[in-house]
Symmetry: D2
Subunit: 261 residues, 4 copies
């Protein structure tokens, strides 16, 4: 994928833009991520620290996050440099894993925080609380706590709804729940979600944040998820349309199962 | 159903509360609805006009809306009369059906506005727009536009998520969509939803608001749904817990499919 | 759609095949249906009476049933006329609607028999029995009883599984069931399915067979569905592959939501 | 769990039945399993080798497989000993894991064979073939291949249908598939299912058979699943009714979400 990056670097240098090394992100006015939505997840953690907006350029097809395709890359970047763009502020989640021994780890998610069983062939049992209030005791493969951005990622595969990016909400989606009535719940982003494993000898589960491991959780640990103080700003060239991307990614309007009379 | 009403009337009279006839609702300080969630839907339209809060007493089991059971009725009412209660403000939807001839009908929903095919054996095709932006062209049995309150009613049967009552959101749920990727979308309550039928000779569909018919929609008509200016206030005796009601109604925690080793 | 039909007629006449009028179907050795899957449903009722196999030519894209596209029409028909084809015998359902007054109507389905509520805004309550054994009391929008062929039609939109055409099975799919644990059940094709409405004043529901109305059902009526004695034989040119059609119709392998790293 | 077993042993000895040690199962005329459905899965592997029928006694509530409750244990066993029982022959799956190095492992499942990703935060990509014919390339958490008996276990949590025990069928259920149109497929029990991982550096997945690990699968390995030659026979006291158990386990008919007018 060196090519688009080289083409873009040459162009930016030509028009007088200073390029910074990745570890200088904190000084950047704009972060340009070239890759797919995975690259955007990585860039978002840089952008959060740097407090800089991100423009995402996809290597292949349109992505949910990287919504500029290579062939429109130069013109899109020029639009943005001329101030012709829209911005879109995305909710981040903060996940805190508090262990019984008093240790605490923190991570941030643009998409989701996922708890999942670490042993095959066995369900994980856990309890959820929303802002301190007991919600449910679940059994199953795990739980997803997702942002609106993450609602079109793993959460969608597990039966969660699509949430428009502008809504300040968090969705809690059980993964393959044993209880068939255990359904996704959408709550306000000012709520906090707490998850604890139910005691059973040798139980543990894994926590993943935007697809990266955050470690294991055990019965006396506590996973706390809430909206982060910071948000990430996405920069879009003119004409950005969330619903157009949805239609494209989900093949809406190209219903080939429909019969022609 | 006469019994609890009589018992309650006697009690209220005894403690010096003035009872008003239903058509005097506008003068009431509190509306007490005795019945099930259906009665509450009816009472909510009264409450909206009267701008009075509602206390719901269920005839049988706990309801999502009527959350006082008959045996705790007197003590719950006494709590409320002493000022010992919580309130809970619920979003209402306003549905406007604009016909091609310029006529306009309006209705209000505490649960949902539903569009559904009127002919058996044939799908209805329709387009949705969110705040003027084209979303999708759907084929299927219809569409539900629900409040958080309505998210646990018909929308839940059609694969929609549960939305906590405090979240200012609207959920749009396709009913038996032909396109398998056509999924529920949750949007902010400051968005408006527009639905139009796709032209096909003799096409029509029915609009239902909180289960009551609002009439037919035809290809040149337009259905517009947005948050109403008013909300409805529910009064709960102390100890009200939305998640406890969910657990009770959805049999959470009573998972009889789970095996005992 | 006259064109492919004319082209085909000319070709068949040229190669010495006698064309029969539709009302002479009983004398035909082969029925060729030109249209979409809807045309195939109609042709299947002719084919059942005539005991002749059907070759389906789709006007547009590949269909589940009409699996020859116009541009390969002549060569496909020539293959079939030379004896170079495969056949595929499809289960039909027989639906009998027995009214309280003793009247009986019968209809046959290649896809499905559907019961659905006739009133908007109100659920229909009904009971099911499988070969005389009580199964469940359902509330919701209705019920689909589908063949393997129908499993990729309306039943799929309502959460039913795909059933391979060769399996002698019937699938019973509740439509938007109020009870969230009310799930599709697959039974052997030698079982019979019985459906009755639950008494409630003025209740009725509509019965549809392959999308065509069979009339209303009322609380004292009985709907009986079983495998028909006859089956319908589909003729396919060489290379027919059920899974290839599934992949094409369901966009399998073209997953645009997947991220490119 | 000693109690019911002691009570039962005493009773059986009193009525002149010879009790055998577990390793003498091959000489038994009847295997009695006391526990839950998990115990029944274990007993089924004994029963398969011994070619003896199993009677399942549940320690607590009714199970899908262990359908005698402790309080009716003695009378149920007496019925069975008097010849007053029904039998019910259940399909078993044979899973063969063929490694690139030529090794082969075999295991048998009464419920299901499950392939699942071993790494958290990353999808597993795999291909399926049915009787040698390519079906689909999947991405997601994994795949379940279940018997009718297993259709009410893990497969049900992942969106699979209920399959009546008498139907000779196998259901293939994708687990949290990334492609939203990737749906359960029911095939005849005379088909074989083949699963292979898609090559990607360091990819592997875990295979579980009735909840027990069978080991890992890697891109050059092959998992082959088909109906086993043997079946397992369940013995039921008079009055056994599969649908009654379903109603009990899935809370059918106790729909507490339904409103009381």
């Amino acid at each position: 994928m060196a090519e688009p990056m080289q083409v873009l670097s040459d162009h930016l240098t030509k028009v007088g833009i200073t390029l910074l090394a990745e570890d200088e992100a904190a000084k950047a006015d704009l972060i340009i991520a070239i890759g797919g939505d995975g690259t955007m997840l990585y860039a978002s953690s840089r952008a959060r620290d740097a407090n800089a907006p991100i423009l995402g350029i996809n290597r292949g097809r349109l992505g949910f996050l990287a919504d500029v395709t290579p062939d429109e890359m130069i013109s899109s970047v020029d639009h943005v440099l001329r101030g012709d763009y829209t911005t879109d502020s995305r909710l981040l989640l903060q996940a805190r894993l508090l262990s019984r021994s008093g240790e605490e780890q923190t991570a941030f998610a643009l998409n989701d925080v996922v708890l999942q069983r670490s042993e095959t062939g066995r369900m994980v049992d856990f309890e959820t609380r929303i802002s301190g209030r007991y919600v449910n005791t679940h059994s199953g493969d795990g739980l997803i706590v997702a942002t609106p951005t993450g609602s079109t990622a793993y959460a969608l595969s597990c039966g969660g709804p699509i949430i428009e990016p502008q809504l300040d909400a968090i969705v809690v989606v059980p993964v393959c729940p044993h209880t068939l009535t255990d359904r996704p719940i959408v709550v306000s982003a000012n709520q906090s979600i707490e998850v604890r494993l139910i005691e059973r000898d040798d139980t543990k589960a894994e926590i993943t944040v935007d697809g990266l491991s955050m470690g294991s959780i055990r019965p006396d640990d506590k996973l706390l998820i809430c909206a982060a103080n910071n948000r990430v700003t996405l920069v879009h060239p003119p004409g950005y349309d969330f619903y157009e991307i949805l239609r494209s990614k989900l093949f809406w309007g190209r219903d080939s199962r429909k019969r022609d009379t």
